[in-house]
């Protein structure tokens, strides 16, 4: 079977490449929007007097993660078709992955911002920075590495979940796995699994590096990652 897998990969480079690109597209769009909304929500709920809201939002986000992906896809398909939108393929999968990706990003944004040393915020305010300037010049730069760590977590997690998206026609590496199951061709399953894993590992390494680069120089605690 190993030999078959090897031969299959050798003969189908272009096809696997295309599936990988599809997979990456889903991940990029989903996690891009997860970062966008997650950071906004995280900033919003970290505001003064919103502790209870923050707890609620993070509670909801953690419940979201416990919903099995197939159930979420099904659920979203229902909603999307009711709204008259394309209910299979790319869209529902991207929405589902965005929802999954929110938790680590909201949580990390919230934690990073609320844990900025209050002395620093007081110093900033006392010197005449507006709240927006404090957010933009003090809180966010300090939160960036933690937010990036959340993104990294979300991406690695979503690469696996995205494979299941092939079941509702979103394409990607999951397609290999589902074809392998449907036609009982184990080497297809193995190929799909291998590439999903490789993608996860690559993304993890790459984002680790990005995380380090995004960390402001003065707070880097270790050497070059």
């Amino acid at each position: 079977m190993l030999f078959e897998t090897w031969r299959y990969i050798g003969n189908n480079w272009a096809y696997i490449g295309r599936l990988t690109v599809e997979h990456l597209q889903i991940i990029a769009v989903a996690n891009g929007s997860a970062v966008f909304f997650g950071v906004l929500i995280g900033i919003f709920v970290s505001g003064r007097g919103r502790e209870r809201l923050a707890q609620l939002v993070m509670y909801l986000a953690s419940i979201m993660i416990t919903i099995p992906s197939l159930a979420l896809y099904g659920f979203l398909m229902g909603i999307l078709s009711a709204l008259g939108l394309r209910s299979i393929g790319f869209l529902p999968v991207v929405i589902a992955l965005t929802l999954y990706g929110l938790l680590p990003i909201i949580r990390n944004t919230y934690t990073a911002i609320t844990e900025v040393d209050p002395a620093m915020i007081e110093a900033g305010r006392g010197m005449g920075m507006s709240e927006l300037q404090i957010l933009w010049k003090v809180k966010l730069p300090l939160a960036v590495p933690v937010i990036m760590a959340g993104l990294r977590q979300a991406v690695v997690m979503n690469i696996g979940i995205a494979a299941i998206g092939a079941y509702i026609g979103a394409g990607g590496l999951g397609q290999l796995i589902f074809r392998g199951i449907a036609n009982w061709r184990p080497h297809l399953i193995v190929t799909g699994a291998i590439f999903v894993s490789l993608l996860s590992i690559a993304a993890d390494l790459l984002l680790g590096r990005v995380e380090w680069l995004a960390t402001p120089k003065g707070i880097r605690t270790r050497g070059r990652a």
Binding site: E122, G124, R125, G126, M127, G128, V138, G218, I219
Partner: protein
């Protein structure tokens, strides 16, 4: 310059943190807000730049009600330094120091120039080596210096400082206090400075505003507060050793005897004994031909055998200067064999002597001078 008028702060839970405080800080005055923790000193300070809102009363800066001003502009016009320093770890020393100038839109070149100037002023030189460093590359004392430089950033006429030297070891703190006094001598800012350390208050302040339970108990120059504590609380707070603390406010020039009994190093023992008899003293300072201070003789050493003073004298090289604080002089005297202190000028010429007697006479004189009830009363009036 800064005026608090019947200022009261009541928190929503009913706590009165500051109770009807009226305080005026003159232009160029270094006013120390002093008191035990929870006395309202920090609250009072933070009401000046509106970090804490006031419940009643008015605060004026340069005659303008702070609540009539834009809050961020108000804050940018005052330096602000806190105990935790609160340097931004993701910014270089230069960026930290120019926080306010950059908010005010200064040009890059001007910011750089100002940073160099300030780092030099706070003793971080050469500035070029420190500018590009990050706070985590600095020692505690250096961070504190950057904190001071940052609060001077845009050259504000007013500084608000909340225990800015609180979080460092005593030796570094002592040095920073000295340097800050030197800086203040140069820049003459109006300063409100919070501390709970009476030593720091006495050392640094032109005036001390002592608070308890939100009430301003006494606002007076340190010497007056030490000599005339208004009530038993002030007396307790300044401590039973307040006479000793007052010593650090006096200089050797205030207490020294400027015509000390002395003998030249090459005069005979006979002459020395005669002079001692004649002047009715127990010691003579020994000087050389150029009036340079060499040491001491007393009755005991003059009983030894020898020809000239230099054969028997006690050579003693510890001396004071005119501007040595008297507490230091006292400590030198206690540590010396003779119990006196020779005062010399820059060329080691003897210009005076401090003895225990001259010391206690000077202290008593300063007390009775202040004792004039009208004058003391009038001073308190202006202070209040």
């Amino acid at each position: 310059m800064i005026k608090l008028e019947d200022v009261t702060k009541i928190y929503p839970d009913g706590t009165k943190a500051v109770d009807d405080v009226t305080l005026e800080i003159e232009k160029g005055e270094f006013c120390v807000l002093l008191g035990p923790s929870g006395c309202g000193k920090t609250t009072s300070l933070k009401m000046i730049n509106r970090l804490i809102s006031l419940s009643q009363g008015k605060i004026y800066v340069d005659g303008r009600d702070v609540y009539q001003m834009d809050v961020n502009q108000l804050r940018r016009s005052m330096g602000y330094a806190i105990q935790e320093i609160g340097l931004f770890p993701h910014m270089t020393v230069e960026q930290n120091v120019t926080t306010v100038p950059r908010l005010l839109g200064w040009s890059k070149a001007r910011c750089r120039e100002r940073t160099a100037e300030l780092l030099d002023l706070v003793g971080l030189s050469p500035p070029e080596t420190f500018m590009r460093r990050f706070p985590n590359e600095l020692s505690g004392g250096q961070k504190q210096r950057v904190g001071v430089a940052r609060c001077l950033g845009a050259d504000p006429p007013i500084l608000l400082m909340d225990e800015p030297f609180g979080a460092i070891d005593p030796i570094t703190r002592e040095r920073l206090q000295d340097e800050f006094l030197r800086i203040q001598d140069e820049i003459r800012k109006t300063i409100a400075f919070v501390t709970h350390d009476i030593h720091e208050a006495v050392k640094m302040g032109d005036t001390i505003a002592l608070m308890r339970d939100g009430i301003l108990v006494q606002h007076a120059p340190p010497a007056e507060m030490l000599a005339h504590p208004k009530d038993s609380f002030v007396e307790d707070f300044v401590g039973s050793d307040r006479a000793l603390k007052a010593l650090q406010l006096m200089r050797v020039r205030d207490v020294m005897d400027e015509t000390p009994p002395k003998v030249r190093i090459d005069e005979s023992l006979e002459t020395a004994r005669g002079r001692m008899q004649e002047l009715g003293v127990n010691f003579l300072a020994v000087v050389n031909e150029d009036e340079r201070f060499e040491g001491w003789v007393n009755r005991r050493v003059l009983r030894r055998s020898g020809e000239q003073v230099k054969d028997v004298m006690m050579r003693y090289t510890v001396t004071g200067r005119r501007d040595t604080p008297v507490n230091e002089a006292l400590s030198l005297m206690l540590g010396s064999a003779i119990g006196n202190l020779g005062v010399v000028d820059r060329r080691d010429k003897l210009i005076g002597v401090v003895t225990f007697r001259s010391l206690s006479e000077a202290i008593q004189a300063s007390y009775s001078e202040d004792e004039d009830p009208d004058e003391a009363h009038a001073e308190r009036e202006t202070a209040a």
